[in-house]
Structures are given as structure tokens and as C-alpha cells.
Symmetry: D2
Amino acid sequence: MIRVGIINVTGYAGAELARLLFTHPEAQLVSVSGRSRAGKPLAEVFPHLACYDLMIEPEMGEVDFVFSALPHAASAEALAPLARAGLPVVDISADFRLRDPREYAAWYGGEHPAPDLLAQAVYGLTELNRGAVRAAKLIANPGCYPESALLALAPAVKAGIIGPEIIVDSKSGISGAGRTLGLTYHFAEANESVSAYGLDGHRHLPEMVQELARMWPPTEAPQPFDFTQDRPFDFAQGRPPSPRVTFTPHLIPMSRGILSTCYAPLVPGRLPVDEATKEQIRDLYREFYQGEPFVRVVDSPPSTKQTQGSNLCLVYPTADIRAERLVVVSVLDNLVKGAAGQAIQNMNVMLGLPETMGLETPALYP
Amino acid sequence: MIRVGIINVTGYAGAELARLLFTHPEAQLVSVSGRSRAGKPLAEVFPHLACYDLMIEPEMGEVDFVFSALPHAASAEALAPLARAGLPVVDISADFRLRDPREYAAWYGGEHPAPDLLAQAVYGLTELNRGAVRAAKLIANPGCYPESALLALAPAVKAGIIGPEIIVDSKSGISGAGRTLGLTYHFAEANESVSAYGLDGHRHLPEMVQELARMWPPTEAPQPFDFTQDRPFDFAQGRPPSPRVTFTPHLIPMSRGILSTCYAPLVPGRLPVDEATKEQIRDLYREFYQGEPFVRVVDSPPSTKQTQGSNLCLVYPTADIRAERLVVVSVLDNLVKGAAGQAIQNMNVMLGLPETMGLETPALYP
Amino acid sequence: MIRVGIINVTGYAGAELARLLFTHPEAQLVSVSGRSRAGKPLAEVFPHLACYDLMIEPEMGEVDFVFSALPHAASAEALAPLARAGLPVVDISADFRLRDPREYAAWYGGEHPAPDLLAQAVYGLTELNRGAVRAAKLIANPGCYPESALLALAPAVKAGIIGPEIIVDSKSGISGAGRTLGLTYHFAEANESVSAYGLDGHRHLPEMVQELARMWPPTEAPQPFDFTQDRPFDFAQGRPPSPRVTFTPHLIPMSRGILSTCYAPLVPGRLPVDEATKEQIRDLYREFYQGEPFVRVVDSPPSTKQTQGSNLCLVYPTADIRAERLVVVSVLDNLVKGAAGQAIQNMNVMLGLPETMGLETPALYP
Amino acid sequence: MIRVGIINVTGYAGAELARLLFTHPEAQLVSVSGRSRAGKPLAEVFPHLACYDLMIEPEMGEVDFVFSALPHAASAEALAPLARAGLPVVDISADFRLRDPREYAAWYGGEHPAPDLLAQAVYGLTELNRGAVRAAKLIANPGCYPESALLALAPAVKAGIIGPEIIVDSKSGISGAGRTLGLTYHFAEANESVSAYGLDGHRHLPEMVQELARMWPPTEAPQPFDFTQDRPFDFAQGRPPSPRVTFTPHLIPMSRGILSTCYAPLVPGRLPVDEATKEQIRDLYREFYQGEPFVRVVDSPPSTKQTQGSNLCLVYPTADIRAERLVVVSVLDNLVKGAAGQAIQNMNVMLGLPETMGLETPALYP
């Protein structure tokens, strides 16, 4: 039995990790830490976790595997000694996602707390990076928005069928903002309302751009549709070609779920532009995600509710033939596939366990 | 592996059974039937059940255990031959809940389709009736409202501390009304609104009254606080004393969950009437439910969200000292502890499996 | 044109006053004050009030009429000098609702800031107290819960048809908790959930009891059904007979609206106990509220949405014949009839304006 | 007093017209018709309209002005004789929005019922077409989605600062789907969920394209920023340049409101591309909408709740400087500015009344 710890269990991502781990056959949650709530029983802070008989401790106990659900900066600080000591860790914060510490400084406002670890950190979007995850000791778990956008766009990007003028319009439930108090998240303000935010630049944007850039095929020679290899990212090679992404997140009056609607121009000449295109694109996506347990290419537009509480991402690719544009809709549960479930999936792969272990419960519907 | 079938999988209770059975270690769903959707894949009707590769059939296939999620009348008709053939069945409809076929006719408007089976049917509120469930072949799964009210009131009734003037004020999410279409359940009508219904008599009332009456102690000699025995119901003995219950259900703008607030006068002289009373009542409830895996007596008022997707019922008993009244708040998920989860709990007990098998996932929160 | 001021415009009740006054033909909002937001334009704090060109001031300007939407204690302190100077005021806080300063101290935890003004304060439930409101200079605007319960129960109490064992089970939207931040009101926590609160005694309870007691008929000689007179409350006469009220408020995942379900035993012998009773009770209520512009006795159970944004209270009285109990359901918008609309209705009556002026907009539906 | 009639009052747009007309000082609703509910009191079908003492009739009575809230095709059929007889009418259906009957046939599946009237019909987006509305007798009231997109894009299009590659990503409350029953709109299905629909082409797309094309400046000579003239549409001149619009509507779990996020490339060289661009664009929009009572250019991203129940459209224009893209967010209430309020605004202009008459109530917030 693997002894697992969660640093900062008191937010939604931490609590969701605890919930999912409860039924994991090979991992046992043995230590949870938290800052403000240290000394209280986990069951008091989260009554739905009364199944656990654990106290929230000020510091991590003895464990074999650690998840950090701390905010950025604090997370790297807490994980650095553990990672340096060789403990396998998954960081749910943003600290190890951006490869370039200058980007980190620009978007997160401060020097990176552990730049020496960046080279060994692996971006943990398992489906796109499985080989590297398998070998990693330090995983940067993806942001919830990038997760939804990258899974939606990867097959098209790698197939070279779209140009770099990309728009990602995302709709997120309010748990995405965390458990922090704020007037924006007051029920009476958020209910019966939609709004856009982050219009001057959301921190998940550079993460999307970095990962899209990595998978972008050389322009002179578009790839054949071969999705079988992990392409290693060689940062020393210099900046890859930059997709021009506009990303707009929106707050939706629901607790969980992200739907991203992604738009990009179809590259002329790569696909016929008629009604058959849609089916060809769907085939391309099906082939790309064939055998993936947690990504399903679906035949009709999905709803976020179909993934509530589950580790699935549903992807619906189609095209606007009139405007010669790819349109892909993806949905996932921001706290599961967008955070805690993805983190456990990474743990499974890192530890050589079956990738789906502990993550097989179907979505809660309705 | 027990081969399980669901008759009428196409409503919310049927789909929830399928969801919960997917991770049950000893039961395998092998056959699902439905009327209007026969011939379609289950995954098409319910995309969140795409984990199953099952077609909806017009008739049940070969199985070892059957759940019926048909509407009343149709359910008894479908189950009668199976039950007579000795197949163990759990009926989620109301057909076998009322012991007296005249009551059934009065409330459900028609002759009972299988009155001969009523004598062998067991009311499947496991916590209050475990011995009988263990021996039963035909279980009448409780209604969601009675489940919440009976678990809230049983300890007080059996202890003889309350009088029969009972009010049950229940608040239910809209999935309780099923998947049927109706203007009342249209999102734009139901959202941002609360309403009462069933004020001229809801069908769950006689079920509450029947079961409360069964557990009522003889008035001349109030029971000592001894909760250890199942009291068998002897209908031939004539009508038990009738609690006078007013039951008002309300529609709440949420998908899942029932909260019942139950009121009854404290019998003078049984408990001191001061602030200590509350703690005494809480102790009494804790003792009553000691060791129960699915009923938790809690120390502060619970919210339905704490049980979302789980088989738990949380009970918060207290007293209004000024008015000398017991007040008990109970919460549960109407589709799990109020329907499908309770049904699987009954199956586990009937088959001699661990009672909690397949039902241990913590609630989805938030 | 009457120059109107609002003290503490920055909460929901204050903002709702401003919204409703905008279309009032005879009153003009000329001054708004607020504590933390002083110096900001009203339109910045509340974008939906951009129709106003007003700054939030630290102190009230020159006005003819004042509403206070301050919290209790602060409100009496701010209003006392104005009231003593003879300015007509409506206090939306609880400060002048309880006649007995000892009750105030017991429930609100502190000496009353202006006990000398209690004698002249009038409880502003216009429908039940119109004569006194007309003559008053200082109005205690009712609490939202008491408003809904008193309008539901007054006809039955005054007619002497119910006994004093009363249960008020109320369901409120979350704006009732104000604009203050708190984990309970975080969208992700409050959404998809119902919970009870205030089980150890809510501050609106003594207000309900006080006003019900005032209208209670002498037990020895039940009143004939004559609803034409205001019965003046003579506190010096000693405490009136005390109804025994249990009041349980619940938080509902919606922004606005209160539904109260009120239960009381029918006094034996006052009404026949058969199906005709319901219609007789409805007639009694219709007669009681005949000609009232803002209370409608309805023929089927109402929903809170039918009153959204309007000053209406809908009342549905019925009976549980089996249990010989009166059941009354009332609905209103907690911010309008339960606060700001009721306050303006009182202003209209105090100033001799038509009672409905500025309050005639139908509810927003859906 | 203008006697007004509503054909098909039984949907949400019809009921909203009735609600808004109740407080209109110069118009009186005297006749309402409906198909299935003819013979019933309006107050029974819509309890929130109990302020009206009107029966739903099978046919329109004697009136001076007519609104039709019938579905497409039926609407043109009902209005054609009235329009030919010279009665001023506003059609809320889509029947007179598309100028080319072939487009109508292609998108609405049938011959246009009254093609002879198309030439005289005026597209009633008052802000963009005021002169023509003033002179019109037959108004095609805009669709709710085009209303939100056109108000968001018009200033940029007319100023020639954007290219034709336009994406409109809209989020709508569920009342937009009407009062018709459907599983998609069942509360338990729609709640806690977001989904995209109409991905194969929504009927509001050709309407957007047509109106954007009309306002598009000749490419060879971009217009100076002069917004003062209505540009008459001369269909005989041949098809105007076609913007390539991708439009994706989404269903949001709320009753009312539309938020559209609109994207288009900034034309190189028209504006500097740096942080100052955003303010310049905002200035351009402010100038464009200067003096408009119902369109407000706002300084921070708006929420739909800020327009709930009001006739306002809030527009927030900005730019993604990195990607050289215009991003505009607009919000409105789909039943008011997106339907009934816009219709009354048109009526006011047609009849020479003050444009804001009866439409001044601030939004209901929260």
C-alpha cells in the first residue's frame, strides 16, 4: 500500500484528492496538512470526508508519495526539499508548468522559488506526454483550462490541419476560483449570471501557448497523421513557433465543470472543405485518442454534466464549413480531470499502476 | 459474480442503479430493459454510462437478481412472475410498500396487481428492518421522502419521547420528480423558485404513517430505550395506533437531495426540558444508530450537498425548548439513499454480501 | 417631490430601495450614505444603479424622508436624532420591532440604543396595522420571515380558528443573508444544497411571537370573524397570551424569495372538519384580505418566482383534514415585500400618498 | 391611450411584453390571443400577470398596434393581413428579418408566407437603424443573439478597424429556448451544466451576417470614424461583402440573460497595437453610443445579472494585444433588450413617443 500525503488539503483540489483516494485500491491517504486549519479533524473541515479519521497537521508526515495543493510559490517552496530528496511528487499548483523562469516571473509576479527543478519537471497531461510522465519524479499537473484546451486542440495541431490563429473561449463553474471568499463568488451575485474575466491576460494563457507550441509541426513540412510518438521538448533549441492564442474564461453559475470552445482556421488544402470534412475530422480525433481511457471523442455536443465527478474529458470536434474553421468543444470536471483526477492518473503512471486505478467511477448524472 | 438486471433503466433511479453497480465488486449489470428506448445502446440514452456496452432490451435477459425501476402498477405486474419463480427482487416503485391493498387502491387509484405477494414483501429500510430484509426475496424499496422522515423520527418514536402529532416538512431536488417532462420542471420555471405541492395528500404519506405506526410503542407502557430488536409487524392484529402526520413536500431548485425537517411534541416527563435536553436527545440518536454505516448523527445542521452521490443519511436531532418540541433535520441524496443506493444496500443484505459493498464512495463535494 | 435619503445604501436592502424609488412618481432619491464605500459613485458599487448620478456620502444630506438600511444597533443610533427632530423615518433594521427592551437585549445582545423611542415606533406591517402606520413618524419595518409568517397566519389567528401550537418552516433565498461574505454563501457551497439554520433560536422568532400574541383573541370568547378593526396593542396591560412558535429557517439555492409553510391545529368546533373546510378557510382568508393591493389569496400553491421583484405576498391557506391542521403557504420576495417594498409602502401611507405608488410593476417571470 | 394587442401571449416573449406594457403610460394592453390556451384568463396561465383582467382570445380584438410573438411562418401568416391593412406591427418572430426569401427558405425550411412584405419590413435594431424604424409600419424585431452580437460589433465594423474573420461565442439562459418542453430544458438536465448547440448552423447566423454585411465599409476606402448616418441597405446593388462569421450558442444554467464574446482581427495599421489601443477602442465605442439610452459602454467586464429585467445592453470592448484581436463582451436580458423590450422601444419610435417610455425600470439585482 502506497502511503500518500496531501499538502494543503483545505481547498477544493485537496479535498477532491482525498475523496478520490478513499477508494483507490493501492494508495492510502495517511497524512494531510493545512495551514490555517491545522489541528482540526479533516471530517470537521469537510463533513463529506468523515470517512477519514485524520487530523490536519501543520507538516507532512512520513509518506511515499506527495500531492501539493498549495497556491503557487508556496507550493514550489514546500515541494523543493521533497523533490530534491527524491520523493515522487505531483504539484497541482502552477509552479512547474512554465519552462522558462522568465515567463513565470512575468505572469506570477516573483522569482521562481526553485528554478533548478524546472528541467526535471514534466508537464503532466498524461495523454500527450505519457512517456515522460512514466519516467518523472516531479510532475507539474496542468491547469484546468489548459487541460481542456490542449485535449481539444492536440489532434488538429499535430495533424497540421489548423493555423496558429486560435481562440479558446472557456466556461467554468465557480469551484474553479477555489474556496476563497470574494463578492464575485457570493451566491446571490454569481447565480443567474454569466461574466467574462481575465480579459487582460489570464495565467493559464502562457501555459496553453507553451504546450501548443511544443506540439506544433514544422511549417515547411506538415506531419503525416502519425500520433504514435511523444515528441520530446528541447527547450535549448530555442522558442518553437508561437500560436497566437486569445483565451477568454467565463464564470458560469454552476459548481463544477469546464467547457472550452476552441476555434482555429483550417489550413487550406489539408482537408476537403465540404460536409464530409466534419466526419474526417472526427475520424482523425478518434484515431488520435484511440485506446485512451479518459478521453472520449463524441458524436454530438457534450455537456459538462456528463463528466461531473469523473476523470473523463469529452471532445467534440467539428467544422464551420462556411468559414473554413475548426470548432472543437471539450468538457471536463475542473476538479477531477482538471485537477485531482489528473493528478492521480499521473501518480498511477509514475508508480507503474494501471492508469485507471481508482478513477473508474462513472459521472454523477444528473 | 452475480448477474444483475434492471427493468426500466431509462429513468433517473434506473440510471443511478447502473452507475452504482459499475464499481460493485460482486455484482455485474448484464441486462437492462426499457420500454420506449428499447433497441438503443444504454450509452446513447445516458452518455455518462458509456462505460457499459449494453443495449436496452425490450425484456429482461437471464439474471440472478432484478431491480425494477418501473412506475407503480407496471412494476408489480412485471415483477410478479419473477418473484413467484423465486428470483430475488427489489422493487423501487411503491407497489409493495403499503401492506393493506385497500390503502394501495385508495392512494394509487386501482386494484393492486399482485395482492398475493404483499404478505412476503419486506419494507426495505435496512436500518430499521435488517432481519426481515436478510430473509426476504421481495423487497419494497422505501420512497425517498419516507426514507428521510423515518430515519429522522425512528429513534424518538421507539424511545417513546414524542407524541403522535407529527409534521414532516420536506424539501426535494427536482430529480425526485423523475425524468418526465412537465412545465413545473422546465428549468426556467423551476429555477430561482420554491413551491409546495401535494397539499391535498402525497402518496408517500400513508407509507410514513404505516411505518411510524409499526414502531410506535404501546402508550400505556413506554418502551425503555432498547433499540436492539426488530419488531415484526403483525397486520392481522389490527391497525396499530395512528400517528397524525402532516407531510408537505417542496420543490427546490437543485438536481438532487432531500432535506426533511420533522417536528413532534416532546412527551412531558420523559426528558428534562432544559438546554441539556438537546444533548440527551443527540445521545439517544447516537446510541440508536451506533455502528450503522450509512446513518450518521451529526453535531451541526447538515446540508444536502454533504450527501450528494453517496448512500449516507445525516441526521441532526435537536429540540425547541421553549415550545417543548423535538426538531429533527435529515438529509440524503434522493437518488442514492432515497432510491438506488438503498436498493443495492438491500441487495447486499439479501445476498449475504458486506452491506457497504459498492457503496463506499464519499459524497461529491462541492 | 419628496426628497428621500437612504442610510447605508451598500447592502441589498439599501440597493433595492434605490432601485424601487427610481420610478416612484413623488419621491426622489437625493442622498445615499454608506460607511466603507463613502466617496464612490453609487453606479460603481452597483452597476445596475447607473441610472443614478449620486455619490455615496459619509453622512445623510438634506432630505424629507429617511430609510435606514443599517445593521441593528447602528441603525437606532443613526436614526434617533433624526426621529427626535421629527423627521419621518422607516427603519429596516430590527431595532424598533421588539416592544420590550429586555427582549431586545436578550436577542440582540446589548442595551437598546434608544429605548425612549420604542413607545412611538409602529410595527410597519401595513396590512395588519394600517391605522397606526398612517399616524406614525417612526416605523419598524418587519423582518422578512415574520412578514411572511404573519400574513400567512393573521386571518386564522384573528378568526380564532387555530390553537397556539404553531410551526413556521421557512425557505429563503440567499440574499436574505445580506451581501456579507461567508463560506456558507459561497456559490460552490450554497448551490445544489439545502440546509436548516438558526435551530437554537433565530432573532425573527420573538418578533413573530410578539405580533401573533397581539392579534390573539381572548381564549374565553373567540372573536366573530370581524377583521375590520386595528386592535391597538396595550403593552401596559401585561404580556398577551403566548403562542408557542417553532420557527426553522432554511437556506435555498436561489437569490431571492421566501416561502413559509405554517402549521397550526384547528380549534375543534370552530369549523366543520371535512373537505369543505378548505374552501371555508379560503373564503375566510379572501374576506380578510379583500381590497388589499399587495396580498393575494390564491387558489393553488404559489411559487416564490411569481413574486420576484414585486411587492406581492401570495397566500395559500388549506387544511390537512386527516390531522385537523391548518396549513398555510405564503410567498414573497424577501428584498421587496420582505424589506424595501414594504418600506416604501409604509412611506406612501405615512405621507398620504396612494399606497401602491411606485410599487405596481408585475413580478419578473421567469 | 394606444390600444395594444399581443398575438400569442402564451410564450415567454408574449408574457414579457404584457409585463412591460403594464406600466407603460401611453399604451394599454387590451387584447391578447393564444392558440392552445384560448378561453382562459391570462392570470391563470401566468399568475404573475394577475394585474390584468384579460381573457386569452382565439383572435385579436380591435387594437391600434400589434405585437406578434408567434413562431416563424405562423407569424407572417397572421401579420400579413394586418400589415397590408396598414396597422403598425412589430414581429418578434424571424419572418421578416432576412431580406432574401431564398435565405429564409434555406434556413427556415419553407417558402416565405408573405414575400411581398419583405421590402417594407425594417430590421428593428433601433440603435443602428433608428431612421428607418421611425418611418416603418412593419418591424422585424431582431433575434436575441444577433442583437447582442451586432451591438457588440457595430462600432468596430463601421470604423473599419476589424477584418471579416469574426467569431461570436454566445452564452444564453434557458428561457431563450422558449416555454416548450424538452429533455434538454428539464431542470435536472440543464442545471449544473453547460453545453454548446447549433454547431451545424443556427438560424440566427444568416441574420448576423446580413446585418454585419450591410454595415461593412467598402474595403478600398475605410470609413472615417463617422457614425452619424444610417446607411440604407440597397439589396438590388447585389450582395454586400460577406463577413465570415462562426457563431456558437451555449446553454447556461440560468433563466435569463445572454453574454456574447465576439472576436475579430484588428486591421493592421488602423490603430496602434499597444496597451493604449484598449482605451482608444473604448473611446471609439463611447462616441458611437453617445446619447443612446439603452446601450452603455462599460469600463469593466459586465455580468448578465446587471441587465436582468431591464432594456439595457452593456458593451465592454477591449483588445488582445498579443494576438492583435478585438474582443468585445456584450450582455443583455434576452427577453427584454433581446425581445419584448426592444419591441416596445421600436413601438415608441414608430409612434413618436419618447423612446425610453415604459422601459426605465433598473435591472433587478441580485
